[in-house]
């Protein structure tokens, strides 16, 4: 899809795209994230796994600008975005979905997706009101892109449905659609399969793979379903209690004794559990 922003990005597949260096975050006395490094390469599907409270969502929140890290830096394609606001980060090409769905429930699927394109709208209030010239062209171009996404995610029959009335699995799909409407270079997905049944999970895994392969979007994924993670990820990073304890291909991670200890809690690990 030529309309995807990543096509115009100055870096080639495999190059370092998103880099997190020594990022920490404390909430009062709780160390949510402790000096984490993370390298995401263009075109990768990177999964972040770890037990509950390991700091996965906090890490995602720092990348997307929702939290300000206490220490460390986040760079996107060589540009420091550590202290950028969420809206600026979105404009630079990082889109995300949320663990708890964050859609406008009273609005239709179509309107939710159109909203996802707001960063690509440049027309002013007056010209939008008259709906002529740039505003009209922009609206048509944006609608075209949104329709591509609707087609891609097979949402045709739900275009005019209020999102609040949709089944949970479909809402998750709409949220993915809204993130895609941004034409992101990097997509952050926070438990996109949480609460889904097996069929819905398989569909979602298919969509994530297609987004990655066909549109060249880099994906950072938080997910609890290990089957899915090991199936679709190129690289897996394991967090425990705010620290990174392992990283590697799915095979390497599955064999790593540290990871097995963190998940199963063997007696040799000593005191941390």
């Amino acid at each position: 899809m030529s309309a995807t922003a990543s096509a115009s990005a100055g870096i080639a597949p495999g190059d370092l795209q998103l880099s997190v260096r020594g990022v920490s975050k404390r909430f009062g006395g709780v160390r949510a994230v402790e000096a984490i490094d993370l390298d995401v390469h263009k075109g990768q599907i990177l999964s972040v796994i770890g037990p509950n409270g390991a700091g996965k969502t906090s890490l995602l929140n720092m990348i997307s600008g929702f939290y300000q890290p206490d220490t460390g830096t986040v760079t996107l394609e060589g540009r420091d975005i550590t202290s950028s606001r969420p809206s600026q980060i979105a404009e630079r090409g990082i889109a995300r979905t949320f663990q708890n769905i964050a859609l406008f429930r009273g609005m239709t699927v179509l309107d939710n997706l159109m909203l996802g394109r707001h960063v690509h709208m440049k027309a002013g209030v007056l010209s939008s009101f008259i709906y002529w010239g740039l505003a009209q062209k922009e609206e048509i171009r944006n609608r075209e892109r949104v329709e591509e996404i609707i087609d891609f995610l097979k949402l045709q029959d739900l275009r005019k449905q209020p999102t609040g009335a949709l089944a949970y699995g479909l809402q998750k799909r709409v949220e993915l659609g809204r993130a895609l409407a941004l034409d992101p270079k990097v997509l952050l997905l926070d438990e996109p399969m949480g609460g889904m049944n097996q069929d819905e999970k398989e569909d979602m895994a298919r969509y994530i793979l297609d987004v990655n392969e066909e549109w060249g979007v880099t994906v950072v994924l938080i997910e609890h379903d290990m089957g899915v993670v090991m199936d679709i990820s190129d690289y897996v990073v394991v967090l425990e209690q705010g620290s990174r304890i392992a990283g590697g291909t799915p095979d390497e991670v599955q064999r790593n004794p540290e990871v097995i200890r963190a998940y199963l809690g063997t007696s040799k690990g000593g005191g941390t559990v």
Partner: protein, 650 residues
């Protein structure tokens, strides 16, 4: 529809590609086809239609397509899949449309039996299915896909995109400018145009060979009794493998010039229907019943005043329709209220359903409940019955506007002779009678007798008005132990008129009394349960609830009231799953495969007649991904009325 210049019928002179050329010459800019893509209806004129057909046909030729080669299309209704069929026919090939939801093993049989050389598949899902079978398909030489989504990484020497074939076609046409014209001119009306595989309620599917003359002749017979105009909107949403869709979307469109509209996806059909507002429509009973359910559910959710107004006018509509159909005069007061209802209820409801511009609509394939039929007619929808079959090129009998009747299928179309054989079987002679089953001479000889009568396999009679009435499949009509004739489908259809019953099968041949296995309708029965605060988790769970058994018992008693005492249902049970084509219990067009079911459920039938109070249902279910599992559950056999006494006597 006779051609005045030569006095000959179209069906005696032309092939479909030749008629396409006539359309392009006559009205090149008229809309031939529309497809909804990305939310917008995109129109293709006859000139564009022809350009795509030509390019694709030339492309096929460049890739080595020979006269007589078979081309399969598989997928939802898309313009390109229709063009591919006409393109193959332009080169003297044969179109073999197949059901898009066929599982791999069913596809293998048909594709091999037809020796298919080219497959045009809608999307990645269909391509995957075809490529997974490649080793088993020795005659397959080319697979073409329509939707490029997800196809970028595929590497197969036989796989090409539709655009690529069209591009090759343009190159080929530049080098061989008169090739295609000559090929189209070579076509004769007696050439086979289409293999329509019958759904096969017994054994393997059979490929009915339909010639251009059969298809065009059947269309001509229909035009002589029904009003059709060029530019009439037709929604192409029925499965392409069903001959009914072929007759409208391929044949009537090229013969008359009706515009075919392909919906965006199977899920959007209802919305697309409303946007389109077609003038003509054909739908199986299930669709009409679904529409009725939609109306009723919406009415139930409306405010009390609106609900009361709706209920009043709904009852009025049915009364007026009944009086009209019985030829009684409708009193003036009622006529006025009915006129008022048109403004308040009927018109708006038709508009909501997308049926406002409808000139006529047909229901066919299975009987539609008389109440449903009358309600739609009372609401101002000119709904009528149609009868036909694959081997007769779809259309045999239709009803005239003033003769609509839920109990008959109407008068035979122009040029169709009918006869009732001694065993009650309906025999037909017409231009639409097929050329035989492909590679099955025996079956052909069984179906067409030496005098040219086609044996439909349907039992029926002609009523005093001259209308044809279909009772059941002739081979299913049996006798009960005491000699009473037993037509299972007749009873099953009565049962299925209940909104809570999705499928039913009755037993009774050579038996002392009639029994039934019932599959509930999860949507309506589930809704009924929810309204009563009855919690359930799944189909199995709901069907095992005693409350559900009581509800269905009531429905069966209603059905029994309309049956002679001997053929009333005495015992029944509720199945823990619906009949499923993937389990081979019904065909893709939802016809029961009786002998298969009787074999599969043999222990249950024994329990029915052995007097047991329960039975174990062991069903092997096939999941969407092909995995199989066995589900066991104990179900109760319910007795109706004085059944216990009957059983003792037996």
């Amino acid at each position: 529809m006779a051609d005045t210049a030569s006095g000959k019928r179209l069906s005696e002179q032309f092939t479909l590609p030749q008629l396409l050329a006539r359309n392009v010459a006559g009205h090149p800019d008229a809309p031939a086809m529309r497809e909804k893509d990305r939310g917008i209806w995109i129109t293709h004129s006859w000139a564009e239609y022809d350009r795509h057909v030509s390019d694709f046909a030339n492309g096929l030729a460049a890739l080595g397509f020979r006269r007589g080669d078979k081309t399969t299309v598989v997928g939802d209704n898309r313009p390109r899949l229709y063009w591919a069929q006409i393109a193959a026919q332009s080169l003297g090939g044969i179109a073999v449309p197949v059901f898009q939801d066929s599982i791999a093993s069913e596809l293998v049989y048909v594709l091999n039996h037809a020796e298919v050389a080219v497959i045009v598949a809608e999307d990645q899902e269909q391509v995957d299915k075809v490529l997974s079978l490649r080793d088993q398909l020795p005659s397959l030489r080319l697979v073409v896909y329509d939707d490029p989504r997800g196809m970028s990484d595929y590497e197969s020497d036989i796989l090409k995109s539709f655009e690529e074939v069209e591009r090759l076609g343009r190159e080929y046409a530049a080098a061989h400018p008169s090739f295609l014209k000559d090929e189209i001119a070579k076509g004769k009306s007696t050439d086979v145009a289409l293999f329509a595989y019958t759904s096969g309620t017994t054994g393997k599917p059979k490929g009915a060979m339909l010639t251009h003359a059969n298809l065009i002749g059947s269309a001509e017979g229909f035009i002589e009794v029904e009003e059709l105009h060029r530019g009439d909107e037709w929604l192409s949403y029925l499965p392409m493998a069903w001959v009914g869709d072929a007759i409208f979307s391929l044949v009537l469109s090229t013969v008359v010039g009706i515009t075919c509209n392909c919906p965006e996806s199977p899920e959007t059909v209802q919305r697309d229907l409303r946007e389109l507002g077609p003038q003509i429509m054909l739908a199986p009973p299930r669709i009409w019943e679904n529409m009725l359910t939609t109306i009723n559910v919406k009415a139930a959710d409306a405010s009390p005043l609106k609900r009361r107004v709706f209920e009043y006018f709904r009852r009025l509509a049915e009364e007026v329709e009944l009086e009209r159909s019985e030829g009684r005069a409708v009193p003036g007061g009622k006529r006025f209220m009915h006129w008022l209802g048109e403004w308040l209820v009927y018109g708006p409801v038709r508009d909501q359903l997308g049926l406002r511009r409808l000139r006529w609509a047909y229901t066919g394939g299975a009987p539609l409940g008389a109440d449903t039929f009358r309600m739609f007619r009372g609401f101002g929808i000119n709904l009528k019955q149609v009868y036909g079959s694959t081997e007769t090129s779809a259309l045999v009998a239709v009803q005239k506007d003033d003769e609509a009747d839920p109990n008959t299928v109407g008068r035979p179309c122009h040029g169709i002779e009918i006869k009732i054989a001694e065993n009650g079987e309906l025999l037909i002679k017409s231009r639409g009678i097929f050329a035989g089953y492909y590679k099955q001479e025996d079956a052909t000889r069984d179906a067409i007798d030496p005098e040219g009568w086609f044996h439909t396999g349907d039992a029926g009679f002609v009523d005093p008005r001259g209308h044809l009435v279909i009772i059941d499949r002739a081979k299913d009509v049996g006798k009960m132990a005491d000699g009473t004739p037993f037509a299972p489908q007749f009873i099953e259809n009565k049962l299925k008129f209940s909104p809570f019953i999705r499928e039913a099968i009755c037993f009774g041949n050579q038996r002392p009394y009639v029994t039934a296995m019932i599959a509930i309708d999860l949507t309506t029965a589930g809704h009924w349960a929810e309204k009563r605060g009855l919690a359930y988790t799944s189909y199995v769970d709901l069907s095992l609830k005693p409350e559900m058994a009581k509800l269905i018992l009531g429905e069966i008693e209603k059905c029994n009231a309309g049956l002679p005492a001997e053929t009333r249902i005495k015992r029944f049970l509720l199945l823990t799953k619906d009949f499923d084509a993937d389990d081979a219990e019904i065909t893709r067009t939802r016809k029961l495969r009786r002998s298969f079911i009787a074999e599969k459920y043999a222990p249950v039938i024994e329990a029915f007649y052995g007097g047991a109070t329960g039975a174990e249902l062991v069903s092997e279910v096939t999941y969407e991904d092909g995995r199989k599992a066995t589900v066991r559950s104990d179900v109760v056999i319910h007795d109706i009325g004085g059944a216990a006494a009957t059983r003792k006597a037996a």
